[in-house]
């Protein structure tokens, strides 16, 4: 009888314990969930505020994918940001999108390389105080076998040979097809022989609609020909099975311009910061940094502020020099001309 009683009481106690445990567990669980929800919300709130502060104090630089992928900006910007305490957030998009970003006031400053679009942009009052910053060149690359035989031809002859080889089905040509600076230059080259390529009828002509890097990958994969900027070429040439065939000549020059967005059109843009940034690019220090940037030991971008009339026939040199000389803390003197132009391209 006593033993039965003992077990009976013991079970009752254990049951009570269980009851309390369960109640406690579900209560703490509810509390924990509540606390974590609150903490998480606070976390979100903090970051939203932090980001708001950041976005109020930064400028957005819209540039092209080929410019960004060269690594030049990751090299230049830390110097600028340290000196002037201005954060530069770079978006690298196609030339077309960069220009639209400027038109919409989503960017504060542009660094692009399509002169006609740039001039139109300034003429339409979307941008002000354009400056020629640097230049490099384009190259036509192709398979090591050079099926179209364009090596050592002049540019017009080469475009002709490419078209003929294409029509005969012997080669493939890959275009960016995305209204980028590179694409527009490529179309100009075809215009030399009076040809406007049409991917729907010219079966040897393909439009990738992507950036230079992706286009290069496709060209490499399919042993085709393409037009590429020197920067991307230098970074990738060791890893692809293509060779450079046509280079040199004024038509293959690729000048870069920096433009500040007109604050009258978009009051929200940080015009002063944008101008400070451009002044840095054209300053002696900025131009020197550009000259010093190398890939595989080779120079990628030639600084040309103040001498762009000699490097690529620019007609705004004098007005540019005047503005930036008067701007506080900007332009000092042009880079040593001789060292640059002679290192430049054989014509």
């Amino acid at each position: 009888m006593k033993i039965k009683n003992f077990f009976h009481i013991r079970n009752k106690v254990l049951d009570k314990e269980e009851e309390i445990k369960i109640k406690f567990n579900s209560k703490t669980r509810k509390a924990l969930i509540f606390i974590s929800v609150v903490l998480f919300t606070g976390f979100i709130g903090t970051y939203t505020v932090l980001e708001y502060v950041h976005s109020q104090n930064r400028i957005i630089l819209a540039t092209t994918t080929s410019t960004y992928d060269s690594g030049l900006l990751d090299y230049l910007l830390p110097v600028f940001e340290r000196r002037y305490k201005i954060t530069v957030d770079v978006i690298s998009v196609g030339t077309g999108e960069a220009i639209v970003a400027g038109k919409n006031g989503d960017a504060d400053v542009l660094l692009v390389h399509e002169r006609e679009s740039e001039d139109q942009f300034v003429e339409d009052d979307y941008g002000v105080n354009r400056a020629c910053v640097m230049y490099n060149d384009f190259i036509i690359i192709g398979p090591t076998s050079d099926t179209a035989g364009i090596k050592n031809t002049n540019i017009t002859g080469a475009m002709s040979k490419l078209k003929n080889a294409g029509d005969l089905g012997k080669i493939k040509f890959y275009s960016r097809g995305d209204n980028s600076g590179t694409h527009i230059k490529e179309l100009k080259l075809w215009k030399l022989i009076g040809f406007t390529p049409d991917p729907s009828t010219d079966e040897w002509y393909y439009e990738t609609g992507t950036g230079m890097g992706d286009t290069l990958s496709v060209t490499n994969n399919n042993k085709g020909y393409t037009l590429i900027d020197r920067g991307t070429w230098l970074s990738r040439k060791e890893k692809v099975n293509l060779i450079d065939l046509i280079y040199g000549g004024e038509i293959l020059l690729n000048p870069y311009g920096a433009i500040a967005i007109n604050p009258d059109k978009h009051p929200n843009v940080k015009y002063d910061h944008a101008i400070t940034f451009i002044s840095f690019l054209v300053s002696e220090e900025g131009q020197e940094l550009i000259k010093d940037y190398r890939k595989e030991g080779e120079i990628l971008f030639y600084p040309c502020f103040g001498i762009c009339d000699q490097t690529h026939g620019c007609d705004t040199t004098n007005e540019e020099i005047k503005f930036w000389k008067n701007y506080n803390g900007g332009y000092e003197s042009p880079p040593s001309e001789s060292s640059l132009i002679t290192k430049s391209f054989s014509f």
Partner: protein
């Protein structure tokens, strides 16, 4: 391809164990953006979805149809819509939200909400109707019924949240359009992979992909563990 894969695996280890600051920034940013979007989507979507699941009303079938369509809404199109809304020249331009993580969270939020609503609704609806009868017959109010049924279908609901998070963190089109892939500020795993691939750095792209897979695995493991814990 084999050497890129090997290079990727080695790089992945180096990046994680040397605490490369850029990869940790990318990691933290990706988890924060997708986590916040999923969290907010759950706050809004779970009550809404389970409530819709309980109720019978005219046009429920049409609503379910609409919901299912939105669950599969093309992310890049959502990105484009949010971009046009938030651009300075757009209706919400004054907020200055373009090219920020907030814009990325908004884009992922609107993609995740239909998923959470749809899955929690389906979860509640699939509870044994006999159980619903029993609870109602015990004289419980509507919100009590809702709470009990939610607890019962907890597993399926959490599964829905996991799916929403997975979709958010692997999304690339919308975040690249509204975020701009800005280094240190709006660059996620997926957008960084796009950049590295574009630059021909396939090894690094693979490394990032591997790290992303590992992180997602760990996060899913934690959520699944919560899901199957005995109560």
């Amino acid at each position: 391809m084999a050497d890129e894969l090997l290079e990727g695996i080695i790089k992945a280890f180096i990046l994680i164990f040397t605490f490369d600051p850029e990869i940790w920034d990318i990691m933290f940013l990706s988890i924060r953006v997708s986590g916040t979007a999923t969290f907010l989507a759950s706050l809004i979507g779970l009550p809404l979805g389970s409530y819709l699941g309980l109720r019978k009303f005219r046009g429920k079938k049409a609503l379910t149809n609409l919901l299912n369509t939105f669950m599969g809404f093309p992310p890049v199109v959502m990105g484009l819509i949010i971009f046009l809304l938030l651009s300075r020249s757009g209706p919400l331009g004054e907020l200055g939200l373009l090219y920020t993580t907030t814009a990325m969270i908004i884009a992922q939020l609107f993609l995740a909400i239909p998923i959470v609503i749809g899955t929690s609704k389906a979860a509640i609806e699939s509870v044994d109707p006999a159980l619903k009868e029993t609870i109602l017959s015990l004289g419980s109010k509507e919100y009590q019924l809702w709470w009990e049924l939610t607890k019962e279908s907890k597993k399926s609901i959490i599964a829905g949240v996991i799916v929403a998070f997975g979709q958010a963190i692997s999304e690339v089109g919308a975040v690249i359009i509204v975020g701009g892939n800005i280094r240190w500020h709006t660059r996620t795993f997926t957008t960084a992979i796009v950049l590295q691939t574009r630059m021909g750095e396939f090894g690094m792209a693979i490394a990032l992909g591997l790290v992303l897979i590992i992180i997602t695995f760990i996060l899913n493991y934690t959520l699944t563990h919560l899901q199957t814990k005995k109560d």
